[in-house]
Amino acid sequence: MPKIRLDPDHARRQLAARQKNLHASLANLSQLDSRHRGAEREEVFATDTVRLYHYRPTRAARTATPLLICYALVNRPWVLDLSPERSLIQRLLDEGIPVYLIDWGYPTRSDRFLELEDYLEDYLDRCVDRVLHHSQRERLNLAGVCQGGVLSLCYSALHPDKVSNLITLVTPVDSAHPGFRLGRLTAHIDLALAASAYGNLPGPLLNEIYRALEPMRLGLQKRLQAGNELGGEPERALNYLLMERWLNDCPDLASAALQEFVQLFMRDNALMRPEGFELAGKTLRMRALQTPLLNIFGLKDDLVPAETARALRQATDSPDYTELAIAAGHIGTLTGRNALNQVPSAIAQWLRQRDGDKNG
């Protein structure tokens, strides 16, 4: 077997640099106030665990129609407003877009019987009505993030009269695509058994499944590189800490809705079926969707690979379909520096073109 000969001086410098980073991390961690400070907002509706928030634009509204963001049931929506520097919501407000955000909250054991229909036709629909009432508009623009994108597609198919324009962000559409590893990995897990064993599916368990997609990179390597982030500029360290907190802030998932979601959209690949699928007492066909669509996805997304998201073009017959591919991963597409320089302005421009520019 070959011998490995390390350059001793270089190796010592590498180790010393690691140690230095770790010490700097300690200094940062003992001084930083890492409380989450989101943009100013007002709660305009609350029911059960669900909350609806309104964010006022920081400049004169240039888009008259409000934008309702429907986040996933998985993880928490505050990643969209992580810090003043890393905030998709803040950037949208700076573009003059009135924003509303749905926070699904933390389902309790009693919520295990919530079905997709409940989320769509009860919670989401009531939030939509509340936004329309609050903004005094007849229709709104809807943006769905990841699983929230799937919910938004379904909602737009159920209520095309209420949605002017639809934006999907990092949304899985074609689950049969070979790159969609999450679907394959979980294919044999008995979700009915999970429901009876746990009630709701525990959020930390779901986190484990995500980490299992790349265990060494997301575990060991990430920890070893953390010193570079935590030991650097305070702003960088703060964003790392907030991101870590967000990653561990994972609500349990209402098991009935989860079972339906996995069966329909992961195992049956329902969004891609030309004949449609049954949901909320109706047959929903993505082909029938005529709403203008802006589909945003990450080219380096390991969770929802670009091709899985890009399939929306084939799934729908929307005469007005636009794509925006970002050179980022799943979360980077929502919070990364480069993404934040592109995504909010692209959304604003796309909406203004379809909505009428209020202030020219």
């Binding site: 077997m1 190796a11 180790l15 890492s34 409940d118 044999h188 299992a212």
Partner: protein, 292 residues
Amino acid sequence: MRQWIEQLEQHDDSAEQADLEPLQRLLEANVARQIPQEHTELLLKLTRQSARFNQFATELLAHSQRDGVDSAVLLEQFKQHLDQLTRDWVLYSWQLPEQLGILMGLFSAQPLPWQEGFEQFAQLLSTLLSNLRPVARPDLIAQMKESLALLERFEQARKHYMAQLSRINAQALEQMARQLEGAAVTDIDQLHQLWIESYESAYQQQISSQEYCAALGEISNAAMALRQGWQRQRDRFCGALGLVTDTRHDELAQRHHQLRRRVRALERELAELRRAVHPKASHKEPNAQDQA
């Protein structure tokens, strides 16, 4: 902060401990400051990981300076490390139901590796079942048999899944050996990166196989079946004591949701009737229950 220091002190790896001392001194100097729990937990993880890496790198460096590091020795070290990581990962990800885990701990006279402890525990339950069979109520015997069968299924699934992970480890090491033959590695970070990439490449290949996905599904399902079985036992105990069981609680929650759906349907009907009476009213009017 204090808890963090205590955890460090409890950690018994002396070589690692030496690396942690400077940090420990720093922490003690900062002990008066209030650092959030999550920060201390993160620091603990980072420091341990970093200390292990430093220890490994220092040993490697010492070997390298003497007569170079034999790749075979290095790969054996990686193998041991990977095996340990694999065991920890499986133990952490598919845990026994809490009460069962505690019970298993109580029955072990001394701390044993998980595998031995588990086998000893299963053996004890089996003996208990044989001894009780002539005297205990048939339903109690049936419950015990069910629990034992679930434990055995879990253990089988665990072994099967561990075998899959071992295969990944072996493939990762083979891949790394090939890489080492082709490239002159002189850099610690480069070496580490090579290891990560070799592992991820072997892992991604294996998890795309049907066999791996089936093994992952079975260990998950077996762990959940065990939890479900244990829950059934707990329900029986609670029922016997006249307490509300999880099952009963779930039935009530289900009825609550049925009623909520009925209210929602009635609200929609009411809204439609209103619109029929007042055609100018639009859907932006919120539901009656949302107006408060």
